[in-house]
Symmetry: C2
Subunit: 161 residues, 2 copies
Amino acid sequence: MTDAFNLSDFLPYRLALISERVSRRLEAEYAKSHGLSVAEWRVLVNLRHLGKASVRDIQVVTNLEKSRVSRAVGRLEAAKLVRKETSASDARLVEIALSRKGRTTLAEIIPKATEIEGRLLDGLSADQLGAFDAVVEHLHAALDADPEAKPRLDTTLGAKG
Amino acid sequence: MTDAFNLSDFLPYRLALISERVSRRLEAEYAKSHGLSVAEWRVLVNLRHLGKASVRDIQVVTNLEKSRVSRAVGRLEAAKLVRKETSASDARLVEIALSRKGRTTLAEIIPKATEIEGRLLDGLSADQLGAFDAVVEHLHAALDADPEAKPRLDTTLGAKG
DNA sequence: CCCCTATCGTTGCACCTGCAACGAATTATT
DNA sequence: AATAATTCGTTGCAGGTGCAACGATAGGGG
């Protein structure tokens, strides 16, 4: 067992490798054009649908640590891509919303991101994609069942279950 | 196009999510028992096969930045899990090798890692796994063909080929 | 033998991150 | 109404990372 262990075949390693590689390819795109990090990109994209959102809202949807969201929002605000103000109804909350500049920035980046994704997926059959999705979901399910694993926040399929 | 964009379905996001979740689960295991980071773990595992290796050797096999390897090795040396000495034949090179303690540490961790991986994969059919592998390889190939993407170092299938 | 170039590993720097602790604000309890 | 418990977002801190620059060493060409 121990002697046969090979990192190249090890699932966590393979996932990390392909994920990082894809991520870097994408980051090269929107970092170069607009200086965005992954965290900022995730926040920005989700704000499109959310309208006004709190840090907590964003945290759930983006699967990012709340301090990471807080700082990403801070940077986005400094870059004038989002506006941030304290909620009138609950002073603990912050209302974050896209600025016009943020919207135009997204309008530039999203097509590029979609195109890159398209190139990556080009040539894969529906069956392959379906199988891939099934495996990923299986992994998530296995982690959900593991008390040692951190729970996933947003399944986009109903948080309550 | 732009309006339909949904992060939850975006491949890079999904990859990052599952990869990070798996990675954290694993890290919880070997960080708790031996205080190892991902980088250190990768270095350690590869040293099992390499015997004596230089930083560059490790860099290729682990797909880690050379400074990251250098620092991981430094930490491993401080923890007495590896020995490090300058090569006699080429003073630029460093010869890194597992210590006895490093070997016993690996002997403890690898079974746990394998077990966790087993639980993650348990219940998946050979067909599903094959399809998954095919998709991952397809993604790598697509990135290989993309001049903007960073080349992959170790394919374990012949670097020159 | 000397210079020029390439390789190797380390390090300074700026940045990002996770975690825990914190203050402010709200809600629940009595 | 007063106090306790909870929620929200920020921040201090320690640590990891990528990148570029660097010193040291080795090899190649004249």
